[in-house]
């Protein structure tokens, strides 16, 4: 058993991190809707899960997990997981996905609205009669108010669509785990920002990070993130394993834990920053908003906790391996 990331998996994440540092700086969050998109396409990011005949690398979700965590850490805007993780399991024609020239949003069971749908070339919408593929030209979008200025929400309606003859389940599981990985990244960046602030901000003649009341809150955030992450890794392994029967339980456990850990990170980061954290001016606001928006995406923590409860109380105490 090797329940740690391989050098290759970490190297992929390092490459993505370098791209995002260069092309998705905090300033870009105020001015661009899809920063770093082209550069990510150039390094093959949108083809990670695609088959080789679609210019993809055919990786498992777990291989891409550290890289997805980096997109959370950078607060990367745009329908990233929808295009890179969900679309390969929804579309019949995936030929153009790897190039990054096709941007996809989704509205699957459990979602109230489609994220960043105004940027999407294609939408996949679940209706009672099945999965509909809707092109940009046939969709009508109504903007809905939301907490995250970089992850806008839309109501979707359409007249023309193509029915997709497949289940949304494999895509929904994977995009939920990918979102959980992003939440871990968001949480880690919130913790790092709060630690930095606590090191430099002085009151009563001392760095506020020297006070135990501050230290202990930040330690609790570190613990929450450190023990949520393995559940996300486990869920990523489960979705690609044909014999693990607890996959839905594992996905829900991961999303709930990651969402709660990121929400705690947001709460503590704001408290440690004090009033300056409560401003539009400080970039922290983007990570706060992302923690909240992704916590609610693809089922909030309460929904997923209830699913885990039903599974475990229902008698499924099995642990895999």
């Amino acid at each position: 058993m090797k329940f740690v990331f391989t050098d290759e998996q970490l190297a992929l994440a390092a490459t993505v991190r370098d791209v995002l540092r260069a092309h998705c700086p905090p300033a870009a969050l105020r001015s661009e809707r899809r920063p770093a998109w082209e550069q990510l396409a150039e390094i093959g990011f949108f083809g990670l899960l695609l088959p080789p005949d679609a210019d993809g690398l055919e990786l498992r979700l777990v291989d891409a997990l550290p890289a997805l965590e980096e997109t959370g850490r950078a607060c990367l805007p745009g329908p990233v997981v929808e295009t890179a993780v969900a679309a390969p399991y929804l579309l019949d024609d995936v030929a153009k996905l790897a190039s990054g020239s096709v941007c996809v949003s989704v509205l699957l069971p459990g979602q109230a609205y489609a994220p960043d749908a105004d940027l999407a070339d294609l939408l996949v919408v679940a209706r009672a009669d099945g999965l509909h593929l809707v092109s940009r030209d046939s969709v009508r979008l109504t903007s809905r108010p939301g907490v995250d200025p970089c992850r806008r929400l839309f109501d979707v309606s359409f007249d023309d669509s193509v029915l997709l003859d497949r289940s949304y389940v494999p895509a929904l599981r994977r995009v939920t785990v990918a979102t959980a990985a992003q939440l871990i990244g968001v949480g880690r960046q919130l913790l790092a920002a709060a630690v930095t602030h606590a090191q430099v901000r002085t009151q009563f003649g001392a760095a506020i990070g020297s006070f135990q009341a501050v230290k202990h809150q930040l330690a609790d955030v570190a613990i929450a993130l450190d023990f949520a992450a393995p559940l996300v890794h486990r869920a990523a392994l489960s979705v690609d394993d044909p014999v693990v029967p607890t996959v839905d339980r594992d996905v829900s456990a991961a999303k709930a834990a990651a969402g709660e850990a990121a929400a705690l990170a947001a709460r503590v980061a704001l408290q440690v920053h004090g009033a300056i954290g409560y401003t539009d001016e400080l970039d922290l606001r983007f990570w706060l908003a992302r923690a909240w928006s992704l916590s609610a995406a693809y089922g909030g923590s309460a929904v997923h906790r209830a699913r885990v409860r039903e599974s475990v109380i229902g008698g499924d105490l099995r642990r895999y391996p």
Partner: protein, 369 residues
């Protein structure tokens, strides 16, 4: 990254499960009573006869050279089988890793086989009346004499010391600095110049004791590492393997399974709390697999072990607190009451959780002292 056990690991699990199914005794009396202590020693000797008491040790000391992953498998099976608490805990999980890393070959040969069979049972002797969380403030001292040292002073809250044969801990051997003047000693408790005063715990039984040293002679062969190196040695094993070895996930997984059964017919709010605990136990298990793999690759986990200590001790307490709520006045008729009292000690011993959070903040996150 994978979670697949090898064929050898699966075989090992099957062997352990089979042996435990045939040998685990029905509830022994508390190890903090004279008859319970002897019953637990006999159980340890039986475990050792199957070379299962310290599976990760080298074979020459009574182990099986098991990997950390196999040790975790053993622990899962051990606690799932409802096997007794380990009266050898302090020796096998706290002293032995230190002996392996810093002891001499002679010391390892002399003490490890007997520890594995519970011929000797070891108590820890760290805290003093004025040195608890601030352990380096300890005042008990050792003075140099021909061929060894004489120990003076007082230790307290010494787990297992009421019945144990031996102890280990830090004593001050020079006044050159709080940390640098400390030396790591092992010693017999069955000597005239050592007075053991048992202390009854919340359950009324003497799970720990006060120790008084009145010039007891300890030979040089019982010093672990070099004089003056005691603090560094104690902390090195605290923060590396001990952080993992102190509490394997196995017992929390077993507790979580039992808690879910207990909460099955409770309302959704109580069931939700039980299932959160169950998921957290799983998270601790997975986290530990990753930690074990890093240690097996030669990495040190250092201060990050403090995160595990806070997590498991507070999880354990949450589980037992919920069980007490679910059982109400019937709790005393079940093992949950003793478990609850034991869980209450978790956030206090092995460095309080306040100290652990300071360590996390300062040494993992880099906040100023």
């Amino acid at each position: 990254m994978d979670l697949d056990f090898s064929a050898a690991e699966q075989d090992f699990r099957a062997e352990v499960r089979d042996w435990l199914a045939r040998h685990v005794p029905d509830g022994l009396p508390s190890m903090d009573t004279p008859e319970g202590f002897e019953a637990h020693r006999a159980w340890e000797a039986l475990l050792a006869s199957a070379r299962l008491s310290a599976v990760s040790w080298p074979e020459e000391y009574g182990g099986r050279n098991a990997s950390l992953i196999e040790w975790l498998i053993f622990e899962e099976e051990y606690w799932a089988a409802g096997a007794p608490g380990r009266v050898t805990q302090n020796g096998i999980f706290l002293l032995a890793p230190t002996l392996m890393a810093y002891g001499t070959e002679e010391q390892r040969r002399r003490w490890l086989p007997g520890m594995a069979k519970a011929d000797e049972v070891w108590a820890q002797a760290w805290s003093e009346p004025e040195a608890g969380s601030d352990l380096a403030a300890l005042k008990s001292r050792a003075t140099r004499v021909e061929g060894g040292w004489r120990l003076y002073g007082q230790k307290t809250w010494s787990s297992r010391a009421a019945y144990a044969s031996h102890g280990f801990g830090l004593f001050r051997t020079s006044e050159e600095g709080r940390h640098r003047g400390l030396t790591y000693f092992m010693l017999s408790l069955d000597l005239d110049e050592v007075t053991v005063r048992p202390i009854a715990q919340l359950d009324g039984l003497p799970g720990f004791a006060e120790l008084f040293f009145d010039g007891v002679f300890v030979p040089d062969s019982m010093v672990l590492g070099a004089p003056g190196e005691g603090w560094r040695i104690a902390m090195a094993t605290t923060s590396s393997e001990r952080g993992l070895a102190l509490r394997s996930p196995g017992r929390f997984l077993a507790t979580a399974d039992r808690l879910v059964h207990l909460a099955r017919d409770a309302g959704p709010e109580l069931a939700d709390r039980a299932v959160r605990c169950w998921t957290d136990a799983e998270a601790y298990r997975l986290h530990t697999f990753a930690t074990a793999r890093r240690l097996m690759s030669g990495a040190e986990i250092g201060s990050a072990s403090s995160m595990g200590k806070v997590f498991w001790s507070e999880l354990d307490l949450r589980m037992h607190t919920l069980a007490m709520e679910l059982l109400g006045e019937r709790a005393g008729e079940t093992p949950w009451l003793d478990g609850f009292l034991f869980a209450l000690a978790g956030p206090i011993y092995a460095g309080t959780n306040e100290i652990q959070r300071n360590i996390i903040a300062e040494r993992v996150l880099g906040l100023p002292r």
